[in-house]
Every structure is written in C-alpha cells, then in structure tokens.
C-alpha cells in the first residue's frame, strides 16, 4: 500500500468517525428541542422560540393532574420493579445455578414479555383484571408492569451468575454456610450491580409504558405517560414540553446517580 493510499484510508476512517459522532450528537437534538420550546410564552408551539418565560413551568407545578400522575408512576414503577427483581433473581438462580428442570422453557417465558407487543398482553389482561377485581386499582398496573419488567432483572442477573463459577458458592458451603447464608453473604453481594441495573431497567420500562396503563388504569391511577398521551391527543401546549423537560431532568439525575453510586461504593 502506498503512502498516499494509506493516508486516504486514514482520512476515510476519520470521516466515518466524525460522521458517527455527528449522528450521536444529532440524537440529542429532539430532546433539546422539547426543552427549548418549554421556555416560550406563546400558547402554541413555535420554533425557534423567540422569547423566554417560565409560565408553563408555573402552570405545570400548579397542575394536580401531573402531581398525582407522577406519584402514581413512581409508586407503580417502584413496586413493579421490586416484584420483577425478586422474581427475576429467583428465576435466574433456578436456571443458572440450581439446574432446575425446564429451564429452557422458563427462560423463554421470562424473556418473552420484552418482545411481545404490549397491546397483545393488554387485551388479554383486561378481562382478568376485571375478574380479579383489580381493574382501576394501582395493583392492576403494578402487576402488568412487573410482567413486562421481569426480563430485565432476569437477563442481568443471569449474566452476572454466569460470569463467575459456582465454585465460589460451593466454597462458601464447604466453609459451613447453608444455602440462605451463602445467598446473603456471597451470591447477593456479587450480583448486586446486576440486581441494581435490572431494577433500574424494570423501573424505566414501567415509567415508559403506555398501552397497559391505557387499558388497566382509571382516572385516579393514571400514570405519567398516560397523562402526557391524553394531553397530546387533546391539545398540544408548551405545558407538555415543560412537563417533559422536568421529567427528562429527573430521569437524567437518576441515571447519573445510578452510574455514579456503584463507583462511590467501590471507593469506600
């Protein structure tokens, strides 16, 4: 390869890297646009915004619908993620460690909710929710979201368990610890990052989910995405942009905390 040819390939490589960098930064544009339009004063969306006001934020703060929807989403998300994480850990232990029979089928079923269109689950779950008397309660959405959250902790914990040999646990047992002590003192501390990641993913899945909430909630258990969706279908105002910006800010902080916390933990 001649020198100029070499230089040509290097230039092409730099061009490709630059292009991808531009695409990745471009990915942030839609998010930034939402934030930008939230600070305008007009009651219709215009871009670029030509004035600055916190009017829509004031309206957002004073809006009880948002307050209760955020509260509902947090409660549903936390409860659903907790249920999904418990089920995910225990299933992963059964499949990876205990060599329980039927592990292939159980694994497939535990991953299935991640790929199954939510509308399919929603119309099947609706009659059951009615029949069990859960319809319109928080529990209906919590349990549905626990199902769609399950794949995340299941996959992350399976990954963590396969990343080290079960010798560690056998060693613990030869040293006198029973199965429960071994889980508490050895297995759990070792899979903890995966458990936290799985919980966060399940929580995020619940926070993002609309279709199941649409079918299973009542006005009093309305979730945040559902409220946003209803507002978008009703009338598009910058208040939605303000709400979305606040949500974005809070989620970003949560993600930042989730990525930074394990590092602080390690330093101590």
């Amino acid at each position: 390869m001649s020198v100029s040819e070499k230089r040509l390939w290097a230039a092409w490589s730099r061009f490709l890297t630059g292009l991808v960098g531009a695409i990745l930064i471009g990915f942030l544009v839609p998010i930034l646009v939402v934030v930008a339009v939230s600070f305008q004063s007009k009651s219709y969306l215009s871009f670029p915004p030509n004035d600055f006001s916190l009017r829509w934020y004031q309206q957002f703060i004073g809006n009880d619908d948002y307050r209760s929807a955020i509260l509902n989403s947090m409660m549903i998300g936390a409860s659903a993620a907790a249920l999904a994480t418990v089920a995910g850990i225990s299933t992963a232990l059964a499949v990876v460690r205990a060599g329980a029979p039927g592990s292939a089928i159980v694994s497939a079923l535990s991953i299935a909710p991640a790929v199954l269109p939510q509308i399919v689950l929603a119309i099947g779950l609706f009659p059951i929710s009615v029949w069990l008397g859960l319809q319109g309660t928080l529990w209906a959405v919590i349990l549905a979201h626990a199902v769609i959250g399950l794949p995340f902790p299941f996959i992350t914990v399976c990954g963590a368990l396969t990343s080290y040999s079960n010798r560690i646990e056998i060693a613990s047992m030869t040293l006198g610890a029973n199965a429960f002590q071994t889980f508490r003192l050895i297995t759990f501390p070792m899979i903890r990052p995966a458990v936290i990641a799985g919980f966060i993913f399940a929580f995020a899945a619940s926070l993002d989910e609309l279709v199941l909430a649409l079918f299973l909630s009542s006005p009093s258990t309305r979730t945040l995405p559902l409220l946003l969706w209803e507002q978008l279908n009703f009338q598009v105002t910058p208040e939605i942009a303000a709400a979305a910006s606040v949500i974005l800010a809070v989620t970003s902080l949560l993600i930042l905390a989730a990525t930074l916390l394990p590092r602080l933990d390690k330093d101590n």
Binding site: Y164, R167, A171, S172, M173, T174, L175, G176, P189
Partner: protein, 376 residues
C-alpha cells in the same frame, strides 16, 4: 505455633482437631449410562496425606466432590470417624476444601475471607480477630489482611485459601488441584508450604492432582485412578517400584515396557528366564509369574550403560539412537543389537561420566532385581 492454634480452638470444634479417619465403602457415581466412579472402597488413616492422581476424566474430581458434598453419590457410604456423612449437607460436614482457582470471595478482603467460616459458626468478634491473625501468621501473610484477593499473587491467594479452609480446624482437608494454576517454580515452593502446613495442622488431607511428582512429594499414600476406578493404591515408592499394570508404570515416571513371549518356571531363588518380543532373553527376580499377555518393565535409571554393564546378570550390546543432555541427567534411547528393543536409559552425570554420542555402540545391562513384571 501448633500449640497456639490448638489452644485457641474452642470446645465445639476441638473434636475435629487432629484429623479424622475416612473410610469409603462402595462409593459410586453414575450419570445416565456413564460410570464416572465405579464402586470404590478405600481406607484413609487419621492424619494421612492421601493423594489421588490420574488423567483428566478419570473420576478423581468426582470422588472429591462426593466427599465434599457437592456431588451426590449414586450409592455407597463415606464414614468419617465412625459416622456416615453422605446424608449430611455440605455445610454440616465440617470439611475444609481448597479449590483449583482458590474460590476466594472477590468482594471480601483477605481477613474477611479467612474470618468467613468463623463468622458463619457464630464465633465472637474478638475471638475471630485473634484467630484470623494467628491463621494469617501461619501462612505468613499478616501484612495482607486488609487487601482484596485480586491484589494478591497466585501463590498468596493459594495460601489465603489454605488459611480459610483450615481456620475452623476441620478434621479433613480436601484439595482439588490446588497448585494447578501456578507456574513451575511457585508450585515447588508451595508444595513445601503445604507439606509444612499439614504437619502443623495434623489434619487428614485428600489431595487430587494430575501431577505425579507433586503427589509423590506430598503424599504418604497415592491412589491412581483410571476410568473411574482406583487401579492401585500404595506409597509413592511402592507404586514406582512395584507397579501392577502398564498404566501405573507409565503414568508414574518413565519406563521401558515389553510384552513377554515366554517364561521359564520360577527357580528356588525366585528367578526366572523370560523371552521378550524380538527374542531378547533376560533373567529377573520376581514375585509375579511371567508369561504371554504380561509385560516386563524397567525404569530408565535402573539400566547401567557403559563398561560397568558387562558383569551384570543381563548384559547386552546396543546402539545409541538418541542422546540428550538435560539438567541433572543424560537421557538415551538405546536399541539392543539383533532384537530391535528400544530402551529408555537415564544416567546421572558426574564429573567423569562419559557421554555416548548418537550412533555409538555401547554396553548396557541390569541386575536380576531391576526388572519387574506387570500383570496387565
């Protein structure tokens, strides 16, 4: 040091100190149609260092797993100090185990790793601290108490694993290829360490390895496993000098082995004359009958090469086919004249030892006691 450790052992565990006698009765493990361990019985005396060696897949690790408790035997009993431990779960067996890759808990410090079995047993905090200090002193790693396992070298991790497996004074210490992950020099050093450690601790040790030299160095008795069965059990010396089969003779050290064609009746002085394939005749002193289907075996260092071979009971001339100087010995392959037998020979070089070149003609021979007969 030993005194200090045994004094600190509390009453609940002191019964374990000193090592237990283990007797295994018809222990076996079947997986579907595959017999990983055929029914096996063996007695291991209190305080014995018992090594199990064999090629991979011979069932030695399965056997160890059954004693430790993480593999359920298909049948049989494991009696420790008069008590069958098969029905007991792993964590009640009070057995110490050192694993091949140490299996140290990566999220716990060195001190926490060593303290773990005591913590599980509900030992008081200051007592734990004291015994962890003593135990780390015993493996000479006091200074590393607060390090994480990943910050230690392989040999240091190995010593921590030893300390952890012995701090609760288990009556039996199981070791599964504990030195397998170390390089050669460190392995030799750790062998000394393990030997000293076992002598101080007094525990019965069952030690699995595929390295015959390691087993010979450490063990009082060695069992050689093949296809799930113990083919021969004995002291390192008896296994080397009186192997019963080709497999044992070849697994443990080097040997030249020849099929026997004919054998004369045994004389009053226990000697007989055998004919090897190729027509070579030899006189050997043996307790075994020789004959077709059996083998004659001779170790390379038992063969004398050079003029001194002329006066021996079995004396031949041969041609050096291969000559190799290695540290500590000179290795030859010598072909006997008119017979075609190729013999492995090892001579110890001294300042005046003659080194024979490839192609040169040499005298070669051995006495009546140097060749043994293998039944299979």
């Amino acid at each position: 040091m030993l005194q200090m450790v045994s004094r600190s052992a509390t009453t609940a565990e002191s019964r374990a100190a000193g090592g237990a006698a283990v007797s295994i009765h018809n222990l076996c493990k079947r997986y579907n149609n595959f017999e990983a361990v055929v029914p096996t019985s063996v007695e291991i005396a209190s305080g014995d260092f018992f090594a199990i060696i064999g090629p991979s897949g011979s069932g030695k690790s399965t056997l160890l797993g059954m004693i430790a408790g993480y593999i359920d035997p298909s049948a049989g009993r494991i009696v420790v100090d008069g008590r069958d431990i098969v029905p007991e779960p792993i964590y009640r067996r009070n057995i110490g185990m050192v694993f091949q890759n140490y299996a140290l808990f990566p999220h716990l410090s060195v001190a926490q790793n060593v303290a773990y079995p005591l913590k599980i047993r509900g030992v008081a905090k200051d007592e734990i601290a004291k015994r962890v200090r003593e135990s780390l002193a015993m493996v000479r790693l006091e200074a590393f108490a607060s390090r994480m396992p990943s910050e230690l070298s392989g040999g240091q991790q190995q010593r921590i694993a030893l300390a952890r497996a012995s701090i609760y004074q288990p009556s039996i210490l199981l070791m599964d290829e504990p030195l397998g992950a170390l390089d050669k020099n460190l392995r030799d050093e750790m062998q000394e360490e393990i030997k000293r450690f076992q002598q101080e601790l007094g525990a019965t040790v069952i030690y699995v390895t595929h390295d015959q030299q390691e087993a010979a160095f450490l063990a009082d008795r060695i069992a050689i496993m093949r296809d799930g069965a113990m083919t021969q059990i004995g002291s390192p010396r008896s296994l080397y000098e009186q192997p019963k089969s080709r497999f044992v003779a070849e697994f443990l050290g080097e040997a030249s082995i020849f099929p026997i064609k004919t054998a004369s009746a045994r004389q009053a002085d226990q000697t007989c004359r055998i004919t090897l394939e190729g027509g070579t005749e030899a006189v050997i002193r043996t307790g075994e009958d020789g004959g077709p289907g059996r083998f004659a075996c001779i170790r390379p260092e038992r063969i004398t090469i050079g003029p001194k071979a002329r006066g021996l009971a079995n004396s031949f001339t041969g041609v050096v086919r291969e000559s190799l100087y290695t540290p500590g010995s000179i290795r030859y392959r010598v072909e006997l004249k008119d017979a075609g037998c190729l013999l492995k020979v090892r001579a110890l070089p001294q300042h005046n030892t003659e080194v024979f070149e490839t192609g040169s003609s040499v005298d070669i021979g051995w006495s009546v006691d140097d060749m043994t007969i293998l039944a299979e």
